[in-house]
């Protein structure tokens, strides 16, 4: 031992001490303390440590893609696409992948609860019920009111619930269910359907065979993002592009703000908002002039020079595009997205659909069809237009409805605040929600009787569009229910039985499975299915095992093209509401869509074009921003005639200088910890204006932009790659 206790010795000793501490605290492997629980009764097709796969249907949107879910020891581990399913052929979108984060989300509604309206979910604000009491509540709601005082508001999925409620309504005289979803609002389904009716004499959602097309002109259709059936349309796009055997297809997108669909286009035409119909008709006229022959009535009135001036697209460009469109027998024009959310959205849809008469692609490969009707699909179960929703809200506000059941839709968040859904609920005696999540609408309910998550549910979805085949997509539970939830169909069956009278007789089914079997039974007699069975038990088992039932061969219906061009088409520009200097283009977030904000991994997916994560941004042209002395991440206030929204600016190079854009999907006040209090909801800006078909004119506004003195950092992927990315600055 040395004479002096040197600093070095001290450090040695200190080091030894630190090492001891580290050993003591850091050594115990946590897995030493795990317990292993065996199955009580192991399912016979299960082996320890091996996965079991179940086919079911994705419920993240209404498209109805087939999933195969990998489960292990009773837990869902991974969603994969069902390779046999005609709609998605084994593929999924990001939301389909993240559906597990909804299933195992920490903020689900765990038990049936009676609660005060407008309060957050919690033991203090609510009164947990057992299911017997909860079903009694539903039974009283049905039995103690007049049928016309009872209404159901349903989402776009699942379809079997809609069928059940429709059956109930027919038998008892309650209001037929109304179906709605933010996606149907932004897709302007009613507009598409009405345009088809006007042009072809038959309503229905058109199907666009992008895969077979060689020239695709899209007017605002965001078919690679959330539009109608994005997975199948993306496959179509890939086929159009990939086609190694033939010429690579050309894709032109007309829209004021480059969407992530438009980013894949060979050419982006930033046309002035409101001139979509005019540009489509001009291209039609110019194309016809190239082909020669008598100019049809539809295109005869347009003046290309004027159109060029109004739309901001050069005449030469229009001529070149017309030549391109006329030059191929497989040209296709698609209307969609914000272009239909203009005040003249129906005119846009008609004008663009009429373009397809130039190659006359109706009912031909690479052309326009009517979607294949799914087995059992009824015209009445289509999504309501936003104007129909307004009429319904008026009914609520007038106190005509005493009991409102809500399932699978969140109108308090999705509808424009201006429509007053939340206030109208005050005049409804009893609101019963079947929400899986404590979303804004569920919190306004008196009772939440939580449904299972989609992956815990039986059912089916009628595939409305996106495939040539007629598809009924089957759903089955891939795991047993994680919480004390109950299938809404089962709750309604039990409640109807308790309510007695007409209700008890209306629904003679033992349970949800029996109901689904009853509905799929007619398919047993159909030929051309993927399987056959002599009796319903086996048939139903095959149905679940295959993930649904579909007919071989195409069931697409050709539209009647006779009168398409033999009519006057409206070429006037759209009117805009509001005094502001900017056109507003609201678009559905490609990663979150309308209900993805509660899933943390969807929040952390970078937006395809801006790469922003976890927040809302306002897209503005850099030149405009420069003029207004606005920099990246400056918070601005957007004011429309209906309201205000605050969000940081993202300098977006691909947007018209007179236009700003804002994504829809964030801005929740509840809906779980990952969604609540994050970003802004552009629905607050929407005024009560509709296009001719009754869909909301969400893109028909002019707004003002005011800079605040605040900045808000946006988390984004770009230029921050790698572990030593540039810092964001201050924590928020």
């Amino acid at each position: 031992m040395s004479e002096n206790f040197s600093r070095r010795d001290f450090l040695k000793l200190a080091g030894l001490g630190a090492a001891t501490t580290a050993v003591l605290t850091g050594c115990g492997p946590a897995s030493r303390f795990v317990r292993r629980e065996p199955y009580m009764q192991m399912p016979e097709y299960t082996y320890n440590g091996l996965s079991t796969y179940y086919a079911t249907t994705c419920r993240e949107c209404a498209a109805g893609c087939g999933l195969v879910v990998r489960t292990m020891q009773g837990r869902a581990i991974k969603t994969e696409g069902n390779t046999n399913h005609p709609l998605n052929l084994g593929k999924t979108c990001a939301r389909g992948q993240a559906t597990l984060q909804g299933l195992y989300n920490p903020d689900r509604v765990t038990d049936p609860i009676q609660k005060a309206r407008g309060t957050a979910l919690g033991r203090e604000s609510g009164n947990l019920l057992d299911w017997d009491a909860a079903i009694q509540v539903a039974a009283d709601a049905l039995g103690k009111h007049k049928p016309e005082e009872i209404a159901f508001l349903l989402g776009l999925a699942p379809d079997h619930l809609d069928d059940l409620v429709r059956e109930l309504a027919e038998a008892t005289g309650i209001n037929p269910p109304l179906r709605f979803g933010a996606l149907s609002m932004f897709e302007a389904r009613a507009t598409l359907s009405r345009a088809a009716e006007n042009l072809f004499g038959k309503s229905g959602i058109p199907y666009f065979d992008i895969g077979g097309a060689q020239v695709v002109f899209s007017f605002g259709a965001n078919f690679l993002e959330t539009w109608l059936s994005p997975v199948s349309y993306t496959r179509g796009f890939a086929q159009m592009r990939e086609a190694l055997s033939k010429r690579r297809g050309t894709f032109v997108q007309f829209e004021p703000r480059l969407s992530s669909t438009g980013a894949k286009a060979d050419e982006w035409i930033p046309i002035r908002p409101g001139t979509e119909a005019l540009v489509a008709l001009t291209i039609g006229r110019l194309a016809f002039e190239l082909i020669g022959g008598a100019l049809p009535r539809a295109f005869s009135d347009v003046d290309p020079m004027q159109a060029a001036a109004k739309s901001g697209v050069k005449l030469e460009t229009l001529q070149r595009l017309a030549a391109l469109f006329a030059g191929s027998p497989h040209s296709l024009a698609i209307p969609g997205g914000p272009a239909l959310g203009l005040k003249n959205g129906l005119s846009v849809a008609e004008a663009v659909l009429a373009l397809n008469a130039i190659p006359n692609n109706f009912g031909k490969p690479g052309g326009v069809f009517f979607s294949a009707p799914a087995p059992g699909q009824m015209e009445s179960s289509r999504a309501a237009s936003t104007r129909e929703m307004r009429d319904f809200i008026t009914k609520l506000a007038d106190g005509d409805i005493k009991v409102l059941f809500i399932h699978g839709v969140n109108p308090v968040f999705e509808l424009p605040a201006e429509m007053g859904f939340k206030d109208a609920l005050q005049n409804v005696e009893q609101v019963i929600s079947f929400a899986t999540f404590p979303d804004e609408t569920a919190l306004e309910a008196d009772f939440i009787l939580p449904d299972h998550h989609g992956l815990e549910s039986w059912g089916y979805q009628q595939v409305g569009t996106g495939t040539a085949q007629s598809v009924l997509s089957g759903a089955q539970p891939v795991v047993s229910p994680f919480y004390n939830t109950r299938a809404t169909v089962d709750v309604l069956l039990a409640a109807a039985k308790l309510a007695g009278g007409a209700f008890a007789q209306a629904l003679p089914y033992v349970d949800e499975v029996a109901f689904v079997q009853h509905r799929i039974a007619p398919l047993m007699r159909e030929s051309g299915g993927p399987f056959s069975a002599p009796e319903i038990g086996a048939f139903s088992a095959y149905f679940q095992q295959h993930g649904g039932w579909w007919k071989k061969g195409t069931d697409l219906l050709p539209p009647n093209p006779a009168d398409v061009l033999n009519r006057d088409l409206d070429q006037t520009e759209s009117e805009f509401v509001g005094e502001g200097e900017f056109f507003l283009v609201p678009f559905v977030s490609p990663t979150l869509a309308e209900a993805g904000a509660n899933k943390p991994w969807l929040q952390e997916l970078p937006d395809p074009t801006t790469t922003v994560m976890w927040n809302t941004w306002v897209e503005m042209n850099p030149a405009t921003a420069h003029d207004l002395h606005i920099e990246n991440e400056d918070v601005v206030v957007i004011t429309s005639e209906a309201g205000e929204v605050e969000a940081p600016v993202y300098l977006y190079p691909a947007i018209r200088p007179d236009t700003i854009a804002i994504p829809f999907g964030q801005g929740h006040s509840s809906y779980g910890r990952y969604a609540a209090g994050r970003g802004a909801n552009p629905a607050d800006l929407f005024g009560l204006h509709f296009n001719q078909a009754g869909d909301l004119a969400f893109a028909g506004m002019k707004v003002t932009v005011r800079k605040t003195d605040r900045k808000q950092a946006l988390s984004r992927m770009e230029s921050l790659m790698g572990v030593y990315g540039e810092g964001l600055g201050q924590e928020k």
């Binding site: 999924t92 920490p106 993306t234 992530s260 952390e604 691909a654 790659m721 572990v723």
Partner: protein
């Protein structure tokens, strides 16, 4: 007893075993691959602030760049960027703990979590910037851990991680083939990203077998690009720019 591990052979001709081809012309940037990867490989989400600092744990990201100015502005085709599984990887020689090693059996760059001490040298030396570091023990509130894939290690704070070409799927498929007494066939399994991709822009398979789908695609397209090949990294991912 033979305990000598053969030395790594470097040559320009050397091809890896597993590879990918990515058709950028049809990649729509939809992020399905990113989500699929996160779900398959137990990736942590880091939250808004950490993501803003560039600490998000994406093993695959879709790069896009802007060309030109309005109105002649264009977004470059989506470029899914993940570990390129270099034949001669810059990350490997710099690891002082031998946590970033080359698998001789599978010809992949491995990240051995239990060896990793978190120097982050590998990430600094990676020209593709595809490695992500666990700056914290990121929280997954209950019951989110129920979805964890038991075939993949859940990483802790202080560990580097990156794309593995879904090595757990490789092993599982190999194990299955072996148990059935046959060779692994091309296309029998694929990575999570390729499996999800709605446009089928990603194809995974054996690049050392001329009849495999990836090899056929490389021959067919004929103008594939390997990123930063000039650095001599011998990447295993081929990109088709298309257009």
């Amino acid at each position: 007893m033979n305990s000598k591990i053969p030395e790594i052979k470097l040559s320009e001709e050397q091809t890896g075993k597993w590879g990918m081809v990515i058709d950028q012309d049809i990649c729509t940037g939809c992020q399905a691959c990113v989500a699929a990867c996160a779900m398959e490989n137990n990736l942590s989400f880091v939250g808004e602030v950490d993501a803003g600092y560039g600490r998000s744990m994406h093993w695959i990201r879709i790069e896009r760049f802007w060309e030109g100015e309005y109105p002649e502005v264009k977004m470059t085709p989506g470029q899914p960027m993940m570990c390129q599984q270099c034949g001669s990887a810059p990350c490997e020689p710099v690891c002082p703990a031998f946590a970033t090693v080359h698998s001789q059996a599978e010809q992949l760059n491995l990240q051995v979590y239990n060896r990793c001490v978190g120097t982050r040298y590998c990430a600094n030396n990676c020209p593709y910037q595809v490695r992500s570091f666990n700056w914290r023990d990121y929280v997954r509130p209950e019951p989110l851990p129920n979805q964890l894939n038991p075939d993949v290690t859940v990483r802790r704070m202080g560990v580097m991680e990156k794309c593995t070409f879904c090595i757990q799927r490789i092993h599982k498929a190999e194990d299955k083939a072996k148990s059935e007494g046959r060779e692994l066939t091309d296309g029998e399994f694929t990575t999570a990203c390729a499996q999800a991709c709605p446009a089928n822009a990603i194809t995974f398979g054996r690049i050392d077998q001329p009849e495999s789908l990836v090899s056929q695609l490389i021959r067919k397209h004929g103008h594939g690009v390997k990123h930063l090949e000039e650095l001599g990294t011998l990447p295993s991912v081929t990109y088709f720019k298309g257009g």
